[in-house]
Symmetry: C2
Amino acid sequence: MTQGPLGYQIHPWELRWRGLSISQLERTESTFALSNGHIGIRGTLEEGEPVGLPGTYLNGFYENHELPYAEAGYGYPESGQTVVNVTDGKIIRLLIEDEPLDMRYGTARHHERVLDFRAGTLSRVTEWESPTGRVVRLKSTRLVSFTQRAIAAIRYEVEPIDGQSMQVVAQSDLLANEPIEADRSGDPRVAAALQAPLVGQFAQAEGYRAVLVHQTRNSGLRVAAAMDHEIDVQDGLRTRVHAEEDLGRLTAAAEVAADGKLVITKYLAYGWSAQRSAPALRSQVEAALAGAHQTGWDALLAEQREYLDNFWASADVEIEGDPELQQALRFALFHVLQAGARGETRAIAGKGLTGPGYDGHAFWDTETFVLPLLTYTVPDSARDALRWRHATLPLARERAIQLGQAGAAFPWRSINGAECSAYWPAGTAAFHVSADIADAVARYYNATLDHDFDAECGTEILVETARLWNSLGHHDQHGGFRIDGVTGPDEYSAIVDNNVYTNLMAQRNLREAADACDRNPDRAKALDVTADEVASWRSAADKMLIPYDDDLGVHPQAEGFTEHLDWDFAGTPEEKYPLLLHFPYFDIYRKQVVKQADLVLAMFLRGDAFTPEQKLRNFDYYEARTVRDSSLSACTQAVLAAEVGHLDLAYDYLAEAALTDLHDLHNNVRNGLHMASLAGAWSSAVSGFGGMRDYGGTISFAPRLPAALSGMTFRMVYRGTHFKVSVSRTEATYELLSGAELETTHHGEKLTISEKPVSLAIPELEDRTPPRQPPGREPARRVPLDGNTEANTPR
Amino acid sequence: MTQGPLGYQIHPWELRWRGLSISQLERTESTFALSNGHIGIRGTLEEGEPVGLPGTYLNGFYENHELPYAEAGYGYPESGQTVVNVTDGKIIRLLIEDEPLDMRYGTARHHERVLDFRAGTLSRVTEWESPTGRVVRLKSTRLVSFTQRAIAAIRYEVEPIDGQSMQVVAQSDLLANEPIEADRSGDPRVAAALQAPLVGQFAQAEGYRAVLVHQTRNSGLRVAAAMDHEIDVQDGLRTRVHAEEDLGRLTAAAEVAADGKLVITKYLAYGWSAQRSAPALRSQVEAALAGAHQTGWDALLAEQREYLDNFWASADVEIEGDPELQQALRFALFHVLQAGARGETRAIAGKGLTGPGYDGHAFWDTETFVLPLLTYTVPDSARDALRWRHATLPLARERAIQLGQAGAAFPWRSINGAECSAYWPAGTAAFHVSADIADAVARYYNATLDHDFDAECGTEILVETARLWNSLGHHDQHGGFRIDGVTGPDEYSAIVDNNVYTNLMAQRNLREAADACDRNPDRAKALDVTADEVASWRSAADKMLIPYDDDLGVHPQAEGFTEHLDWDFAGTPEEKYPLLLHFPYFDIYRKQVVKQADLVLAMFLRGDAFTPEQKLRNFDYYEARTVRDSSLSACTQAVLAAEVGHLDLAYDYLAEAALTDLHDLHNNVRNGLHMASLAGAWSSAVSGFGGMRDYGGTISFAPRLPAALSGMTFRMVYRGTHFKVSVSRTEATYELLSGAELETTHHGEKLTISEKPVSLAIPELEDRTPPRQPPGREPARRVPLDGNTEANTPR
């Protein structure tokens, strides 16, 4: 393992941080966050302080706050939702011979933490000398269980290492309404809603156990948290347990022998509900706790590792030639798994459960960037996330009615399914989110042939979103089907006519809905779908208007886009990025400047609608106008760069996507990880250098590596078949791991993936002139670190 | 005079309301408001209650309040401004034999109020029987002086008419921080800013005089109000004067003989300043008061009448065949004069000084609708209003910089010149306001040849707005000059490319700026204008892109407009109007539905850019899509309807514009009068049936009357020449009133207006099929009331 004085260390299967840096704590709290998709706990130190942002989140648990408007309009959402820091159970405070352990004081002789991608744990070793000269070693290991979704656990050890016995007092807490910074969002109303959002309803303690039940003030959601402990120490243990409204505490005092140690195992259980009573929730978490306690620490660890072994067997991506990228890709896969593993009909938020960024909202990020990874690796998690969307259909139907449309209009941002976007040109108008959800449904179905989901949920989502498009669009005087006045993925344009991405995704949506109705005639009938309606969908799809600029030979991102003035990139210094913080929307919207892949994303997700020549010209055209002021861009640019043959550029973009959080490229990792960018790193590898595409149920590959990589192997699941693809500079090898044989193509050549590995040559690529990016907006040129070099540290 | 039981009475020179209707008070407070453009007082009853909205306004006097955003953006204004109800001096409370006079109690045996358009006064006669049976006659007359701009005055008489003497106590107040309704705007922050906005700084009383000085809490503006009195009564007068922080009061108690009366004359003076101290302001209002007192009531009345005689001699419009319309037109002229007469480098707000609507903000309404009337009747007032705009150039330059543009960007809505619009797609993006201001500058110059203004102010405004357009637009790949991503006058579209109105007005702006620089080379040089810059303006103007739909043979309002889906008018019931209260912006913006004349307004103000055939086709096309959810539309539709030959339709629209407030067509007259619609009524008459146009300094006429009218005579001033035009059904007569002879045209035929009247025949008009409006959105068919019919009462 590489070691350096401070910062992340490069290792293929873990993320290790060596040394103490108080100023970096808020970043590592996000990168070291543990989650199973249901519970999320940030990587704070056990002793509670110093801390950047404490954070314990339960998927779907939020508080409401008013959304203010200086000039309100019809249909503006009145209420916002924001994720709440619930009862904090990860705190174990320590008093060493009367001195509180606080890393800001005394001396950290040694400090390191490790996130282990295979064990699913965060471990810590700290050797601390107190201001009065006593020295202890502290070890902790925590997990949020993938197998018992209500459970987290901590093993905590203290031992004197200065040759003398010492008095140790540990306080293990459940702490509600932790103080947080006054104003995270800049909006005093949100801050007010989050100051002490929990109202105590029940508190009880007995033996080594405590339980607290709270309810939010406005949203009325109820949360229960419970803890139990095992304590192992040789001599003189005295304990006291206590509960009050916002605090449950087990105090353990012991005289630890010079060669002895105090070991505390803390089990935590969480539950929340909008409907269940305080006694019911209390019972629920106490039962979960009893189960975890009965399982025991070692068995929890073993279950965790087994779960992850299975995951890596289906999902791992191996990279040869760039150890840091290898680490980053596994870091990405691990965190995306954490975000989605046990969501179980709750949303996968933009930040997962790693921080309060974006108010804890889920966006189109989930379906477009995160679900592809889950669909092809742990498809059940993709299914569960789509079941959440399905559960929100009543709210999406209401919203469509409010907006004067048919079918269902899914929200731009939400926790519970209700629209929370307060700026409609970049929120409500971005109707593509509904097509993105439909796309994810179709992708999941094609990748799994899960007929039960198709009949129960998928068809209904496809039908209701197709209805939305059929009412949003209209046939013009020449018969073309137009979709006017909407906003595409690029948030530096808004309210445009015939955004190519939106129209192509709507086209797929309409066709997939028609196909789903053919597959599920009973379901279609129950949804009042008529043959005429299906015919109108197919007709709208067939007549879909896709603008094209004949003079320039490129697709305008939307009608008129290529007529607009180019942004003055030469006159825009680096400090003026991101543009939206330094220029008014009006000026950004009306010029040719692209925040994030839009037409280029269309060329990925609807690559079947473009010729190779169009892809090359379009890519180069938009490359010169894309500033990547969003973390949702580099991964898509990587995929298309690889497809059109700019392999080294694709490599740069892949690295940017994969390292977004580890290098804190957007300087906001403290608020949580960028799940879409992490998942996008996987797409960059598998769909970029692997060339994996899946259009309408036909999976295909066109692998090709950049100069810096000597090999890449990735694993996937498709229709129950587990297989792996190993790519070298000259050939690719396809090998079945389990399940039935699978037909696919390699650079257009048919092949069958079977138990006998098949190796096929990679065609030569003609030379390409690399495209230009706006000055200063090029991705960092990737120079792979070898295993003996210091890792890049966050800026 | 026509009389009826209740409501407005038809009379050519006055607006009389007979009878008491408490529920109508809030409406008549607006229609009976008095103002000189500097001070405005609503037509409340002297006794203070019952009241709809009390209101005493000083032009430019406002309070600040925070503008909240759930999702803020760069360049959003942080602070709003709202007009403040200042110290109320129009209150004279009355106690009759221990009974407060309150029209809600006792019996109003007779009650009428008269706004006299020639006297410039509001008079009242009330005969009231108290609950205990005593009967008094109350007469009051008020004026806000056109000749002494700081002064208002009230003559107030009380006489017993039940044959017995009575004890009368009158309390004449200066009252600050009057209680107002909690929430006028729906925004609690605005309401909070307006609850007791004034902080007392000085209060003093002596003899019959009192003075109060206050300062606003946030904006820091200071206001002084002072009153003095004359009291005339036969016997036993006792008076007491008193001043406290928010109240100045003269109490006059008298035993009035059975055949006697108590007469109080109250003089009021107002002053405000952002800079002057409390003592200075106190001195200022006391001096003004001394002046008014010295002038005396009768002389103030005489001055007022003389001022108005002069006005009517230059501005009157006589109508034959529709007495109610005659009254409405003079009502309109009178109120527009009140709004603009003595503004003197302050704005003319959308509501004038008649109510708190639109927060007291000025919009493009001023330059586009109000200033034409003033330019051709009292041009000095137009000049003063434009001097206000000139004074705000520093703020407009700052705003342009903030928006990344050159030159000056005038605000969409403001009191002091700073942008106060919180919704940028329908505010900041409506850049046409700057071209509208430039248009008003050019119109004023062409109509006056006022070289001093041209050199001091006009050229600078034209140059800075031309610079704005030159930076907002760009030459596309084919050389055409495009202006992308802006919002035109029609607020049911937003953020569009090449709005025809905007582009044509910008074209004029660029050319007028170039011409102004040619006229004023020194000024141009001082503004750093180079020959290259002027050439670039002319080139941009010459290459201005004006989209045209060849298939339909009409101009799209903006690029792509005619491709959009038509609004489902048939499926939109009446109660769903105005649309913006019942449908989301996104759906309104992307469909062919027009709130207010946009392309049609372009055909009026830039009629020189369209052929007659285009005008006819365009008018019919937009007529079918215009819903008139704005009071800024009917007047323009009237002008173009008349031009293209739909004379009866023009008549309907003229009536709608003229009666907007008297019939309370938008159900909001309580918040103030619609100055633009009132002024627009004048345009409907003079530019509609008079066919007056003024393109680039060439004034022309094409008069033609609708079937219902037998004659119309209007007066105007142009380049110092006063003249009148008398139109009959068959001919028009042009006659010089004073000044030099004037060249013009009549239906394209040249003529010279001279002392000898010239009569010319009106050409025959070929029959036209009337266009269709959206169902239910037709203007009311106008049936003229004869002089013996009851006037229409407000709905």
